[in-house]
Amino acid sequence: MTGDLVLRIVAKLLMPFMLLFALYVQFHGDYGPGGGFQAGVIAATAIVFYAITFGLAAAQRMVPERLVERLLAVGVLLYAGVGFAGLALGGNYLDYFVLDPDSVHGQHRGIFWVEAGVGITVAAVMLKLFYMFAGRGRDAGDA
């Protein structure tokens, strides 16, 4: 899209940090503000930023649309799966106590996976939304 060298280099440099920050927000949600939702948004933003500097096609090469659509579903399934795991191990639906012999540890484990599910779905949806709206622009009016 743009040939600005400075912007390109800055974008390249920033990308890993933004993704790292997303991971930090994801896993630090237990101790500070943050969690799956916020992390998902930040991760998606990083890629959107990439798309803006290097063009939509480049971003779609890095994170293909098909993959995003899969991840959309995977996140929800992961979350719901934790619920079914609770059932399988003899508890109620979404029961984290039974996920580990030590109930507090089980809670921790449950929250971890659930937040991961939220993060995946949110990141995928936000990215997908951007792809949809941005991709539409090229042939607007003739659909």
Binding site: G29, D30, Y31, G32, P33, G34, G35, F37, Q38, V41, I42, A44, T45, V48, E69, L72, A73, G75, V76, Y79, A80, G83, Y93, L94, Y96, V104, H105, Q107, H108, G110, I111, V114, E115, G117, V118, T121, V122, A124, V125, M126, K128, L129, F130, M132, F133, A134, G135, R136, G137, D139, A140, D142, A143
Partner: protein, 164 residues
């Protein structure tokens, strides 16, 4: 914040309105920080001021920028909105005072989250504990809402493979 909202109501340039909306969301996030709701503020900043604005701008690029029509019959809607506001104002007279520690929401249900939450779940951020564990099903629902929106937008905006 009120001023921004009023400006938003009057602004006829859609681009301006979107920018004002971003400012509004950011102010909202600031207020939320002041109210100790850090998790919410972070989300509002990322979503309200960030994602929403990007989406709005993206859509605006597709639909074009000016609101051409002047206001149509502005009085009836105003009266209706004010009536709703008045009803609400009547009801709010009976609500607890700001920061009243004896208010029902501070004495019922919530104390267990604060006192037992970290011990029961091993997570000191009580918001995360409530979100993911105590009310985990709400959050599953919330994730599904996001999923629904994503899949819905795909259904609406996917380009046909071959045209004509």
């Amino acid at each position: 914040m009120a001023a921004v909202v009023v400006a938003l109501a009057l602004q006829r340039n859609l681009f301006g309105a979107v920018v004002l909306f971003g400012i509004y969301s950011f102010l909202m996030a600031t207020v939320l920080v002041a109210l100790d709701a850090v998790d919410v503020a972070m989300t509002e900043a990322a979503v309200g001021a960030g994602v929403s604005t990007v989406l709005l701008l993206g859509a605006l690029y597709l639909v074009g920028g000016m609101e051409t029509k002047p206001l149509v019959r502005p009085l009836a809607p105003l009266a209706l909105s004010l009536a709703v506001g008045a009803v609400l104002a009547y009801g709010m007279q009976g609500l607890p005072e700001f920061s009243d520690p004896q208010a029902p929401i501070h004495v019922h249900v919530a104390p267990r989250y604060l006192n037992q939450g970290p011990k029961e779940t091993g997570v000191p951020n009580v918001v995360t504990a409530v979100l993911a564990s105590y009310r985990g099903f709400d959050t599953l629902g919330e994730t599904v809402v996001v999923f629904t929106a994503g899949a819905g937008v795909i259904a609406l905006l996917r380009r046909r493979q071959k045209r004509k």
